[in-house]
């Protein structure tokens, strides 16, 4: 197994979600940020290449097209670049980064809402999948998240997909740890209800087909 520091940047791009935080340790990310502040292009490149996939997934969770997500990703990196002097060496990098990206996402969402109020949709976008894929007993993660309100979905996504801790999620969402715990608790309660209903519906369907 490769150690994180032995991976090339291209290899790092292939690393999947839950592993991405492990690809670079907190310390390595902090070192890269400090070098980025000192105008080291290699450090900046490494950060962009390594963190873009996770940021892209985070930003694309509320948009309907890939182009929009790409635009948001570019905007997020521009804002990160402009705000790079506000990163304090020694502080965790991911909460700082996601806090900026979160505002880009919120701004993008509000912008789309404004445009949607004024415009009539010119084309029908493909609908998101609303049922689980064939052969799977569990609903798709994305489908499951669609049952939650925005603030709860955001917390669960940051915790379970981006792999941040409660403390880090609180930093990203500019709230307290207690508030994050409460949102996660409510989300789990709701998801448990949804899963129970899905299981009941599945049992009924299989009973009828039998």
């Amino acid at each position: 197994m490769h150690r994180a520091s032995e991976l090339s940047n291209d290899e790092r791009m292939e690393i999947t979600g839950a592993q991405h935080a492990a690809a670079y340790s907190q310390q390595e990310l902090q070192d890269f940020m400090v070098r980025y502040q000192a105008a080291d292009p290699d450090a900046a490149r490494a950060l962009i290449r390594n963190l873009s996939p996770a940021l892209f997934r985070f930003l694309s969770s509320q948009v309907s097209t890939r182009n929009e997500a790409e635009d948001l990703l570019q905007e997020a990196w521009l804002r990160i670049h402009k705000a790079r002097h506000t990163y304090r060496p020694g502080e965790p990098v991911l909460p700082w980064l996601y806090a900026i990206a979160r505002h880009v996402r919120v701004d993008g969402y509000r912008r789309r809402q404004r445009i949607a109020q004024r415009e009539v949709a010119a084309e029908v976008l493909p609908e998101r999948r609303t049922s689980e894929p064939a052969g799977s007993q569990l609903p798709d993660f994305e489908v499951l998240m669609s049952y939650l309100p925005d603030n709860q979905r955001e917390v669960v996504t940051l915790l379970k997909v981006e792999g941040l801790s409660l403390e880090e999620v609180a930093r990203v969402t500019a709230s307290t740890v207690g508030s994050v715990k409460q949102k996660a608790h409510r989300a789990y309660k709701r998801l448990r209800e949804v899963l129970t209903q899905e299981q009941a519906a599945g049992n009924t369907a299989s009973g009828e087909s039998a």
């Binding site: 290449r49 892209f56 997909v161 403390e167 500019a174 899963l195």
Partner: protein, 264 residues
Amino acid sequence: MNCSDLDFLLHRAAGVDTLPAGAGAHVRTCRRCQALVAALNQGAPLPSVPGEPVPAIEDRLLHNLKPAHALPPKKFFFAAFLLIFVVLMALGIAHLGAFAWAELNLMRRIMICASLGASAALLAYSMVQQMFPGSRRIVSPALLPVGAFVFLTLMLAALFEVGHSGHFIRDGMPCFEAGIPYAVPAAILFWLILRRGAMLSPRVTGVICGALAGLIGVSVLEVHCSNFDLRHILVWHLGVGVAGALAGLAIGSVGELMVRRRSA
């Protein structure tokens, strides 16, 4: 251990085996929790970022890349905000006179100083956190100004009683007008410092900044004005702080709108 208890552990569970012993045993016997843990841990796949954006981002960011010096420590800004608060308050008191201070008993003096000082410190702390994205919060920044004013209202209500002042508006307006001039320069100075950071939410920052600036006016009036009618204090003294917060909200909202239009 029941389903509800488990919720508080789920945020860090990567699978049944990673849960504490009691929780793991519960999940193995509870189908609802099994489904939930499995559903949450499937996660979402990391999408491949198409070829175009990443090189384009690199080009834009790395072109003419210059060093960006990290901001000084947070305590530096915290001290700066409090220094501005204290200096402007002292100037105000020196200018208007400390007529109320002479008439207040020791208990009232301590309670007023402590409550105003604590509110100012919390608002200054929150303002510093607004400059640095991803900062730790001990209180929700959006709720803090509201909480501070509710706390001050309760504190003043406990210290003063409703009296019979002759003309509520005629006596009150001069106080309000005397307090505002100290809030305005404070707000400008705060903003000059704040703009060095990255204000992600200008609206919330505006409210906090306005509230802290307004609190300078409140502090000056509490030491200056010897009208101890509770209604007068709440409306015309504390009103300076509320007006500051509302002005900050309005300016912050305009700022947020401008930022959004610029990035559109």
